[in-house]
Amino acid sequence: MGIEEKAGNLGVVTTSLEYVVNWGRTNAMWPLLFGLACCAIEMMGAQASNYDLSRFGMELNRASPRQADLMIVAGRVSRKMAPVVRRLYDQMPEPKWVVAMGDCAACGGVFNNYAIVQGVDEVVPVDVYVAGCPPRPEALIDGIMLLHQKVMREKISGQKEQPVRLQQPLIQVK
């Protein structure tokens, strides 16, 4: 009397625990429900029916940081908001990831002034930066796919990859 009598003949699947764990994490990655500025509108667009982020198991935006795996920082972070963002990040359970959506969250964008944090990576460790002002929903989905690939490469020890930096400019001026 085993499981095969109830579920039918499943056959045998061999895989590594690392792969199964990472696969499970990527396919039900729930973002934290918060938006800081205009990028949040595009984030909502990515989750609505046209772009349908729920194809990737991400239709649930959790309003509580205790139930969220992914923080999408959608918008500029003011210096007054930065401690709040950090507190939300600290309240999320491990493992957790951060996507800096848009130029403002990535590097301050057009707001190089006293009130805006010049990149949310000063406050929380960022896994993927999505460029754009604001990025279209396709760009956000692309960034999330990139994050999924990154999570699939994670080790079972929980060690995270080091960030990849651009060494050459994308556009070469001659």
Binding site: R79, K80, R86, C107, G108, N112, N113, Y114, A115, Q118, G119, D121, E122, V123, V124, P125, K160, R165, L166, Q167, Q168, P169
Partner: protein, 172 residues
């Protein structure tokens, strides 16, 4: 209600308290001595023939290089007479202090806090003069003209190494 009548009434009332008078697009503006500022606002509000009951706007200006360097600008509106008047009062750079209008107009409370927060002009008689927009531990007043505009250098590929070396990245 017209500007000439209003000015004559106020001159009779305040005398030398009026330092300068200006008119722009039909709106009267009065530069007042700090001692006459509160009295002028109270008179404009309480006199039944004037009835400037509505404080439309209160803000500060930084005229860097001029003395008095700061100026507080208040716009009063008489809804009954459909008329508007602008009150200005200077504040010296050494100790910018201006009487508060909050006892007369409760709406001045937050606007004076904002002026204090961003320009560092203190309001005497304000019930709780604390920062309203900037974080409480902020040092300085960012809307002053001599406050640095940008806080950090922008990173490009040609200078990112030197910037990232001293940028305070977050620990996980």
């Amino acid at each position: 209600m017209d500007n000439a009548h209003l000015l004559a009434t106020l001159r009779e009332r305040l005398g030398t308290g009026i330092i300068a008078v200006g008119e722009h697009r039909g709106d009267l503006s009065l530069t007042l001595a700090p001692g006459a500022y509160y009295a002028a606002a109270q008179y404009l509000r309480d006199d039944p023939d004037l009835a400037y009951h509505f404080l439309e706007n209160l803000c500060g200006v930084d005229y860097l290089g001029r003395e008095p360097r700061f100026e507080v600008v208040a716009h009063l509106v008489s809804l009954r007479h459909g008329h508007r008047v602008c009150l200005k009062v200077g504040a010296p750079e050494a100790s910018p202090r201006v009487p508060s209008l909050t006892p007369l107009f409760p709406t001045a409370n937050y606007q004076e806090r904002e002026t204090y927060d961003l320009l560092g002009i203190a309001f005497d008689g304000h019930p709780s003069l604390t920062r309203i927009l900037m974080p409480e531990d902020w040092v300085g007043h960012p809307q002053r003209k001599d406050h640095p505009l940008g806080e950090e250098e922008v990173a490009f590929t040609f200078n990112q190494d030197s910037i990232y070396a001293r940028k305070p990245f977050a620990k996980s």
